[in-house]
Symmetry: C2
Subunit: 333 residues, 2 copies
């Protein structure tokens, strides 16, 4: 491997290898070592950064601006932070319609207000025609660590439950469908901020002490990121295929496109590992209190086999889940 390929950006094992071997080794910060989407500093700051290169920029249920706010806010939340400040850096390709930019900025402002973060600084660069693809947005987020939360794979114990906060794969599927010009009623991106979901989880796990891990199921989808979470764990997991919340429309589109919805990206769903005593209550309270989380479900449990993630299929057969090499779909975020 001597050049960068699209798969290096797909959120799978090739990307992990690139980041671990080429980036983390060089920057050698202890905070980087566990490859968090958000770093927690000794002062209790939670810092995250994400660039958004999604195509198309407008998709059912959102656009690149909404996504850029939700994505970074979610990364801060998943690292145990309460997001507070956001930066907004634009790389605009010469020729972008100003009206389109306005709509995207409107969405960013709306989303930032909805999840109570302030966009406090930014940067605007313009690159010549042919050196970009309309618009790329980077957002960095800064938040403050919640007290009471201690997150880490080292806390996993056999019997813990794995929760997903809503129906899965809809972001990736709807983006792909819109690339093919498919107009799917009832299918739109799940793009959303997870602040209310986290509030409910914390509120129903003894002030968060029962939450052991959270991760938003972006590139790689619920199954890809679950495989990744357990890769370095002393425990394993078993997931149950029939427990995965997949809507009828998402299932139909997935079948049509030949995509496993479990590996299709979400942009407003999280996977959480919680102590078993809190699991059912969390799912119930999510379904009752958060509009986006009606389909929240316990999808599996932690086992004693280190690093092994298995999927229990419809006939009770087990198959091994591995971290995909790259995403099924490039540029879905």
């Amino acid at each position: 491997m001597s050049v960068i390929t699209l798969a290096h950006g797909g959120g799978g094992s090739l990307q992990n290898e690139l980041i671990r071997q080429e980036i983390v080794t060089r920057f050698s910060s202890p905070l980087l070592a566990s490859l968090p989407d958000g770093a927690v500093t000794p002062e209790g700051l939670v810092i995250s950064s994400d660039s958004f290169v999604i195509t198309p920029r407008f998709f059912p249920g959102g656009n690149i601006g909404k996504l850029a706010v939700a994505g970074t806010v979610n990364d801060v939340l998943m690292a145990g932070g309460i997001p507070q400040y956001l930066t907004c850096s634009l790389i605009i390709e010469e020729g972008l319609e100003l009206d389109e930019l306005r709509k995207i900025l409107d969405s960013m402002a709306e989303m930032a207000a909805a999840c109570k973060v302030s966009i406090v600084t930014g940067d605007t660069k313009v690159v010549p025609r042919g050196s970009g693809d309309g618009l790329y947005i980077n957002t960095a987020g800064v938040g403050f660590k919640r007290t009471g939360l201690t997150l880490g794979v080292e806390r996993f114990a056999p019997g813990d439950k794995i929760i997903v906060s809503g129906s899965i794969g809809e972001h990736g599927l709807s983006v792909l469908a819109s690339r093919f010009g498919m107009d799917c009623e009832n299918l739109s991106s799940d793009c959303a901020c997870l602040d209310k979901v986290v509030d409910v989880l914390v509120g129903n796990t003894d002030n968060g002490s029962g939450i052991k891990f959270m991760r938003d199921a972006t590139r790689g989808g619920v199954l890809g990121i679950t495989a990744e979470i357990f890769e370095k764990s002393a425990c394993g997991a078993t997931l149950y295929e029939d427990k995965l919340p997949v809507t009828a429309t998402a299932a139909a589109v997935a079948k049509l496109l030949g995509i496993d919805p479990g590996f299709a990206a979400c942009e407003g769903r999280l996977v959480a590992v919680v102590s078993s005593e809190y699991a059912e209550k969390c799912v119930k309270m999510l379904a009752e209190n958060v509009a986006d989380a009606r389909s929240a479900a316990v999808i599996g449990e932690v086992t004693a086999q280190p690093g092994s993630v298995k999927m229990c299929g419809a006939w009770g057969t087990l198959r091994k889940l591995v971290v995909p090499a790259g995403d099924q779909l490039p540029r879905i975020c």
Copy 2:
């Protein structure tokens, strides 16, 4: 104006108009209103973000990685912060040579170590061939506000001195020269972190109380950014052309290329407004103590004419300086 043009990214009045009219109005954060390169939060955090799209990626004296660290570190410093944490988000065009990426990451690591910041999190995206230009880097910086510093144009008073921390225009000129394949001995980018410069200024102005404003002279150069600083001020400024520290090589290259070095970008020089009693001492101490600041100079003074920045030429004639519409050179950072 209905589409974005290259000049919207040039750091001049067109960009300011875009940012003020389209971005600041929407995001409506009080911290954004003064268009700082770094925001200072009520908790005393200083946050900054910059995307780097420079071409070519390697230039005399540096590369895009070195620049991406220095640029954001400097923005945090200029806002009165002590930089501590950096994020690193890459947008890589498919096909980038891995060896090239390694060199760039090496430079980032080296520069981060030199100015004592930790790169704590990041993101990697890959876009298809033709949708980027090799590599764009976004860095966001988080620091902590220095005590004793109060920066703001509202503190300007007639008689204050304007300091530049070293010879000017060399970043922009050397990037342009390298685009033309010119091999200029003795001309290389001034790309550097300004941490030591700020330390010396603070150390020689009664713990910083004598510093009224700092800004790194990037897009727009020393003259462009000075015009911008005073645009909204109740004071004005007079600069002296013969005091501008321009090296003989930079002057020769500028003449050859038809570029005013005063408007050519620096990436390791700051313009500071200080109380007059500290000015000469600051310049002397900078020249003696910071390798990059041998040519530090007092280049002008604050006047009572609101918003008016004048340049006193070689024959004592005054001309008005205005904020350029865009940069002379696109993509110099």
